[in-house]
Symmetry: C2
Subunit: 180 residues, 2 copies
């Protein structure tokens, strides 16, 4: 952020009085422009023994498999955002959404909130951000071609929990990948 | 938003190609300025049979009782944000945070994420945003002087769940208050 979104003046970065963090401040408007984490809402759509994955048609991780998920929008609930993203990425209608995994990713200021969901009639298409969508049995999951750690962990939890017949909420903190 | 935070030019509001919602767009930078919901992270600090409430020294709801909670910051996890807010508002150290209530409040673009938490040594002070902080037994909760519906619901759930000895995650959608 370089300019005030309210008046167009240049902002400066400093710690406001009574605060403890540097913020972007407009001295013309006397406005502090806060920047806060975003929620990524998504689903693990389930149909019988199979789960629905989408192959990404966009960067990052073009060509890798993911769960339908994206930025939660103003004016919706987390579950509404998750269902909307599932429609947009897989043209799939989901019901009975249950919050299942929460991933804090503080180094990119994101919180993933993924839901187990029933894929209505097992039907789906291919959204514009996907190259293809496909139902997978556990044995066929492309483990080495998954787009994100959040996707891999959610799938691992799901197949483990399914064996036990219990699906507790999982909350994990993800740290930056170590560059090799 | 009136001006581009990147270049200071005026933004226009329209639906970008391939999108379905109006966004603020800078035609000089070709940047779409997205606006997304915020997470409010907080705690229900518990000490024995008592819970800790704070009386607000700030608007909105000056003078009403609340649970310590506030905007999650970049670079932290939801639980870290909840613990930080509890320190800031009540000078209270909390441990063993468990996500307990999630409130979608789509009409103000907020998601509350409140945690049951152990109040270390039962100790607390008074943060700068609080007029006073106090431990309450269930019988003494000031039900008619609570600041927000999210606070009232969390307390109601807690005392009900405590009777049963089970504390499941509660997820609710809050709608705008009806003006009388
Ligand atoms: Zn300004
Ligand atoms: Zn611009």
């Amino acid at each position: 952020m370089k300019f005030c979104s309210n008046c167009g003046s240049q902002v400066t970065q400093r710690i406001p009085e009574g605060d403890s963090r540097p913020r972007y401040i407009c001295d013309d408007c006397n406005i502090v422009h806060y920047q806060n984490p975003n929620i990524i809402a998504g689903c693990l759509p389930v149909w019988g023994d199979k789960v629905l994955l989408c192959r990404r048609a966009i960067e990052p991780r073009y060509g890798f498999w993911t769960l339908p998920a994206g930025f939660m929008e103003n004016g919706e609930t987390v579950a509404e955002g998750a269902a909307r993203e599932t429609w947009e990425e897989a043209e799939a209608d989901v019901r009975e959404l249950t919050l299942y995994t929460v991933f804090n990713i503080p180094y990119i200021n994101q919180v993933y909130m993924l839901h187990r969901a029933h894929l209505v009639d097992g039907k789906f298409g291919i959204g514009v951000e996907s190259l293809e969508c496909q139902l997978f049995d556990e044995a066929d999951i492309p483990w080495d071609e998954l787009a994100f750690p959040s996707v891999k962990r959610t799938l691992r939890y799901y197949f483990e929990d399914r064996q036990r017949g219990e699906f507790p909420l999982h909350i994990d903190d993800l740290r930056p990948p170590v560059k090799s």
